[in-house]
């Protein structure tokens, strides 16, 4: 069989035109059935030794296709595609080939599947979003499905991501995905790495690069250092880093390319935070998202326990939740009360300047020691660690050595005045897109808190935002950091700190133990705040260094 015939073209499915999709589906069906037939006929004839290998290869190829079909049957926003792909899978199964089934429960390990919007039951606005996303990427990823709790933000997020990855920009497409891989690998985020490895190969990237950074061009290797510093200790970025990248003879970056790369790096660092923070499950068609094993009892247990999604486990959590219902109810009440107090007596007791300054320092220092007591070592996911070197370099590392984080004053260099102008100058339109995204994330509110309605949450949001910036040493002159201590309790701080600084260490327990009475959508909202604040913090440091280089 010629390779060309076997090529399955998925892109027709992204069309909004149902007839185009239909023909594409028909083609896929033909190809897959042909392959299946072929495999079956080979299987039936006695094996020749030389065939063994090629058979395995073609079975592998078929399995990949089937996994993709499975993903489509679950996650395509178009109903016709979902139905048809399911039908194809069934017919393949009838031919005696084992078909995959999805593992785990839904897009997130932390959030029960029933809480998350099912594909197919979305309203018109979300459907448009899904269709847009699907048309752009050829898939509807789990991140999108979790973010759709906040469609307003999702729209901006997808627009930005689409622009960064697919629209006009100084970097070639495969570079962009490779930078995404580099950034995600810094946090050992196998989910994002897998996703972008596929995309990278799809846009014609050289598979050799995937064997490790040392196989990539020197130019990208040079970026490794910036990636490392940016991910873990952005305050250490100096104009020398920038100069090193811009003046490397034939491997130099141009300023525009560098800004593009920096935006991509920060985007993927924070997206890795989101992935871990919300416990995003592997995509159905990627490794670990599906299995070909039949759902036997023993298998079920093994794979699902490792996913942290065991039904019994969930029961326990629920019962635990029930026990502490009254507890957590008070938690919300107490928080509301504190906010009210702060609102009222803000003007009365005026802390001295020294007091304010020391509050910031205390918060900054304390934030270094806020860490979950259960020091679980998460083993780096398979294949991920090769994309970066120097695994030991991390935020935590630093805090143990008690290094001093210099204070970055937002009044001297802020996103709105400085960062925006620089980004927009060097990478037109992106400044605008990111600016919108920051605004939406910062100002997003439904005026609800757990079971309460009509609450002004701006104070709480500001506390979260400033707490994250505080961890990165960014100080707002006009903020009283005492508020943070009042509003954010320890378990919440642990969660924030872990998600932002060492996302790979986030556990289900952490996710469950903060804000127990709050809805999942609110926890996702918190995550959005976290990732945007983190992205802005990293961007501020990187852009300040670029500005310093330029002047």
């Amino acid at each position: 069989m010629a390779e060309g015939e076997n090529e399955v073209r998925w892109d027709g499915l992204c069309s909004r035109d149902s007839t185009t999709r239909e023909t594409a589906l028909e083609n896929i069906k033909q190809t897959i059935l042909r392959k299946t037939e072929y495999l079956r006929s080979v299987k039936e004839t006695p094996l020749r030794p030389s065939d063994g290998l090629s058979n395995a290869v073609s079975l592998d190829g078929l399995n990949k296709l089937l996994a993709h079909l499975l993903m489509l049957s679950k996650r395509c926003p178009f109903k016709d595609v979902r139905e048809k792909t399911e039908f194809i899978l069934k017919s393949v199964q009838e031919l005696g080939i084992r078909i995959p089934r999805p593992l785990g429960h839904g897009p997130s390990r932390f959030i029960p599947e029933k809480e998350i919007l099912q594909v197919g039951s979305e309203d018109a606005q979300m459907h448009t979003l899904f269709a847009d996303s699907f048309a752009a990427l050829g898939r509807l990823d789990n991140i999108t499905l979790v973010m759709v709790f906040h469609p307003q933000y999702l729209e901006s997020f997808l627009k930005t991501q689409h622009y960064l990855l697919q629209m006009d920009g100084p970097l070639p497409l495969h570079y962009r995905h490779y930078i995404g891989i580099m950034a995600a690998a810094r946090h050992q985020c196998s989910y994002l790495v897998n996703l972008h490895v596929n995309d990278f190969l799809h846009v014609g990237g050289d598979p050799k690069w995937l064997n490790g950074l040392e196989n990539a061009p020197q130019k990208l290797q040079n970026l490794g250092e910036l990636n490392k510093v940016l991910a873990h200790r952005p305050w250490l970025i100096t104009k020398e880093h920038i100069e090193g990248l811009l003046k490397a003879e034939e491997h130099s970056w141009s300023l525009a390319e560098l800004v593009h790369a920096v935006v991509l790096l920060t985007h993927y660092h924070s997206l890795a935070s989101f992935t871990f923070g919300c416990g995003i499950s592997p995509e159905i068609h990627c490794d670990g998202g599906h299995t070909f094993r039949p759902p036997s009892v023993s298998n079920y247990c093994i794979c699902d326990i490792t996913n942290g999604n065991h039904s019994v486990d969930e029961m326990q959590v629920n019962s635990a939740g029930n026990v502490s219902v009254s507890d957590s109810f008070f938690e919300v009440e107490a928080l509301m009360e504190k906010m009210r107090q702060l609102q009222e007596c803000r003007d009365e007791e005026e802390a001295s300047q020294e007091e304010m300054a020391s509050r910031f320092e205390i918060e900054k220092r304390e934030s270094m020691f806020v860490f979950s007591s259960d020091d679980e070592e998460v083993t780096p996911a398979r294949d991920v660690s090769r994309h970066f070197e120097d695994t030991s370099y991390g935020y935590k590392d630093f805090s143990r050595h008690g290094m001093h984080v210099p204070t970055f004053r937002v009044q001297d260099y802020c996103w709105e005045d400085h960062g925006y102008s620089l980004v927009n100058r060097l990478y037109p339109d992106v400044g605008q897109l990111i600016d919108e995204k920051f605004h939406i994330a910062y100002n997003l509110t439904y005026n609800t808190m757990a079971m309460h309605k009509d609450v002004d949450t701006s104070m709480l949001r500001r506390a979260i935002w400033n707490y994250i910036h505080c961890m990165f040493g960014i100080r707002y002159d006009d903020y009283d950091y005492g508020e943070i201590n009042q509003l954010l309790d320890r378990s919440f701080k642990v969660y924030i700190k872990t998600v932002v600084c060492t996302p790979e260490k986030v556990t289900r327990r952490m996710y469950d133990s903060f804000w127990r009475q709050f809805k999942h959508s609110e926890k996702v909202h918190v995550n959005l705040l976290l990732i945007e604040a983190r992205m802005q913090a990293e961007l501020l440091y990187a852009l300040r260094a670029i500005t310093r280089y330029m002047t």
């Binding site: 300047q353 004053r409 709105e416 005045d417």
Partner: protein, 790 residues
């Protein structure tokens, strides 16, 4: 005169003196403000708050207001302002949201007077009332503006900007009660100080934050605003709606804007990022700054004119920790460095060229032309005395007009439409295209096609007649592409002159002569060795090109009265000889028939210089005999394509590229191909040859090109009922669950082609409507409209 006297009275009889100078501060400055007496300036920043006296030769530090054991955040200033009525009174805005007033008259070391801690976030701006001694206004990040009476402990009134951060507040200089405020969302509001409940007026001035504003010191209604969108806009506020009267586009976000005293149209700006210079603009000339100060090494954060009635002294503070005094006479003027020359193509191919007169006059030896009598064009500009660039404004304009008819591109359109690019064997394509070219009188092109056919298809199929024909007439016309210009000089009264270098033209013709002779030699060489027809043709073409350029460049040869151009004989001996050569139709008809060939060669030999052109034919023979592989020629063909492309006939280059396909593609680098394709497609689209352009896109193999017609191929339909786009299916609206497009004839949903009447907007299936309108002229929907189907 009246103005002058006012200045002197304002300056108290003694004019300001000083020089361009700077002094080093200990820390970056955030803002500066000048005292009423123009002798002192206050500099404020995160860790600096000092008063300097401005002396003739230097700045002298007079007072450090930053006192106390531990620096408090109240001293971290975002803005500072000096009262224009009371020289002891200052106010600062702190980054932590505190507004502080300072009284220099206090006897103690600490001059701090009052502390207002009402704002919750950073205060961006403070502003004193221009005439009232005790009124202070502040604008903060928390979205509030507060008005303080310094005799009281707290604010008198609070103005809410609806939680949009306030970036600047400025009291109107003329209207006692009015102030303007600018916001981060791009809005500008006008407030009446007596009415804190709502603003008097609001409009969107910029895209993104408006960082600053400034009222015109004289003109009551003018407000200048500067924003992150890199614009400075001047608004006329006297009309009912704020009207944008001027707009200056700068190169970076505008951090500060200040009107220049005594110069009605001048304002100074500085930027917040990237650009460190201070510009003074004439708002009527928004493209080039009138003056530029380049002293600072980091962004300028504060600018102030030293005296409200003296336009020549500007003070500035910067992040590079320096305080500067700039003298206007020392400013650099970008205009001087500008290159005031312009070149522009007209709609019908006319070419206009303008340059500084000084440049023109240096050219000697040109006698001014008396202008074309048929199309007299006069250029006379009324000189505006207010014009800032008067000295530079005298320029000469020349217009080169297209000879009527010669600019016609009909050949291009015809060729594009009639060329066959695919779908037939190569030989047929070449023949067809050669025929098309010949019929349009483009014999050189026709000949090229024929040769391509000879090179790339089997020799047996060669159609001799066409080959011969094109050889015979090959040189009777040049590339039609070369436009001939009829030169005219405009407005001799203004002293304008055409600037075509005559001497250059002359040397050109020399080289042409030289070239053609070398051509001859090379051709003969070619003939003797292995020779190929293509280079001969190529070189011939080259000569043609030169000739046309010469025609263009050397107006001396052209008579203005007689636009019909006559080729100077001596420069082109070859050309005319060839025309005279009797075509040998039998020439190739029978390849074995050598006597014929030699016979005509003998004929040709009598006309000495013709040899080269005949090398074409004899080479063709050599080709057949030795059967050189077509690959052998690919380099030459590529050269030829490049030649055509360079001549401007990208049509030929692309057409050949498509027709030959794989045969030559690999020899031309991808980028060049892409470039040709895009140029050709662009041209085609300009002539509205959409079908052809799409065909070209389709036939191209370059990835970047072929994806052109795959972008934005989806056409979305809006529901006629709810006006929302119907994204899933084109005929049913998801929102209102209605079928959007019903056929008026059969009352079913139209899923395919929908045709509708633009008069009554009824329609339906194409076939149904066509059928209906055959029988009736009224609308099938019964609306009574007389629909027309065309």
């Amino acid at each position: 005169m009246e103005k002058m006297s006012r200045v002197t009275t304002a300056l108290g009889g003694s004019a300001l003196t000083g020089r361009t100078m700077h002094c080093h501060l200990d820390a970056p400055a955030n803002a500066i403000s000048v005292c009423r007496d123009a002798a002192q300036v206050v500099v404020a920043g995160r860790s600096i708050f000092k008063i300097y006296a401005i002396e003739d030769e230097q700045f002298v530090e007079k007072l450090n207001l930053r006192v106390g054991r531990k620096p408090s955040l109240n001293l971290s200033c975002a803005d500072v302002v000096w009262h224009q009525m009371d020289e002891n009174l200052l106010a600062t805005a702190a980054t932590n949201g505190v507004v502080v007033t300072w009284n220099l008259g206090r006897p103690s070391r600490n001059k701090q007077d009052q502390l207002f801690t009402e704002h919750k976030r950073t205060v961006n701006k403070v502003c004193f009332h221009p005439t009232e001694a005790h009124v202070l206004l502040s604008g903060s990040q928390d979205g509030f503006m507060k008005c303080f009476d310094l005799r009281r402990k707290d604010s008198v009134s609070t103005f809410s900007g609806q939680s949009e951060s306030v970036r600047d507040v400025q009291f109107s200089i003329r209207d006692y009660f009015t102030f303007a405020s600018t916001f981060e969302n791009g809005n500008v509001q006008l407030w009446d100080i007596r009415r804190p409940d709502r603003c008097e007026r609001m409009f969107t001035a910029h895209n993104g934050p408006v960082f600053c504003c400034d009222w015109h010191p004289e003109d009551r209604g003018w407000l200048a605003t500067g924003g992150r969108d890199k614009m400075v806009k001047v608004w006329d506020m006297t009309t009912h709606r704020a009207k944008e009267v001027h707009c200056v586009q700068t190169i970076a976000s505008v951090a500060r804007v200040k009107w220049r005293p005594e110069c009605r149209h001048h304002l100074a700006t500085c930027s917040m990022m990237v650009d460190h210079n201070i510009y003074v603009w004439d708002v009527r000339r928004p493209f080039v700054p009138a003056a530029m100060f380049e002293e600072h090494r980091d962004v300028t954060t504060g600018i102030a004119w030293r005296h409200p009635h003296d336009p020549s002294f500007l003070l500035s503070g910067s992040k590079d920790s320096t305080l500067c005094q700039h003298l206007f006479r020392d400013a650099s003027q970008p205009v001087e460095r500008a290159n005031p020359e312009g070149l522009c193509y007209g709609l019908f191919g006319d070419l206009a060229f303008a340059a500084k007169e000084s440049l023109v006059s240096t050219e000697s030896g040109r006698k001014p032309y008396a202008g074309d009598r048929r199309h007299p064009i006069f250029f006379k500009r009324k000189l505006d005395p207010a014009e800032p660039f008067v000295g530079l404004a005298s320029s000469a304009l020349s217009v080169f007009e297209m000879e009527p008819g010669s600019g016609s591109m009909s050949w291009f359109v015809d060729t594009a439409e009639r060329y066959a690019l695919a779908g037939r064997p190569l030989a047929e394509l070449c023949d067809h295209n050669a025929k098309v070219a010949r019929e349009l009188g483009r014999n050189q092109v026709a000949q090229t096609w024929t040769m391509l056919r000879v090179i790339y298809s089997s020799p047996g199929l060669a159609s001799a007649a066409s080959l011969n024909h094109s050889v015979g007439k090959g040189s009777s016309c040049g590339l039609p592409l070369m436009n001939s210009f009829n030169l005219k000089d405009m407005a001799p009264g203004l002293g304008s002159e055409t600037r075509l270098d005559r001497s250059k033209g002359d040397t050109r013709s020399d080289t042409v002569l030289l070239d053609s002779s070398t051509t001859l030699i090379t051709n003969e060489d070619n003939e003797e060795t292995e020779g190929s027809d293509v280079p001969a043709d190529y070189l011939l073409g080259d000569v043609e090109g030169e000739e046309d350029e010469l025609y263009l460049l050397d107006p001396e040869h052209a008579h203005p009265e007689e636009p019909e151009y006559v080729l100077p004989q001596e420069a082109f001996p070859l050309r005319h000889e060839i025309v005279d050569t009797p075509p040998g139709p039998e020439h190739l008809q029978d390849k074995a028939d050598s006597p014929h060939v030699s016979g005509s060669e003998a004929d040709a030999a009598s006309l000495a210089p013709v040899d080269s052109s005949f090398s074409l034919i004899s080479v063709s023979h050599a080709l057949y005999d030795t059967r050189l592989p077509p690959d052998f020629f690919s380099a030459l063909v590529c050269d030829m394509l490049r030649f055509y492309a360079e001549q401007g006939d990208v049509q030929m280059a692309v057409s050949v590229l498509i027709v030959l396909g794989e045969r030559v593609r690999k020899d031309i680098d991808e980028q060049t191909q892409e470039h040709w394709y895009t140029s050709y497609i662009d041209l085609l689209q300009r002539f509205c040859l959409w079908n052809v352009s799409n065909q070209v896109v389709k036939l191209s193999t370059s990835r970047a090109i072929s994806c052109l017609n795959q972008a934005s191929t989806t056409l979305h339909v809006n529901c006629s009922h709810c006006k929302r786009p119907m994204s899933s299916r084109g005929w049913v609206c998801d929102r209102c669950h209605r079928c959007a497009s019903m056929c008026a004839v059969c009352h079913h949903v139209v899923k395919g082609l929908f045709v509708w009447c633009q008069g009554c907007s009824h329609g339906g299936h194409l076939q149904h409507i066509m059928k209906w309108l055959e029988g009736s002229s009224h609308c099938p929907a019964g609306c009574g409209h007389l629909c027309e189907y065309s």
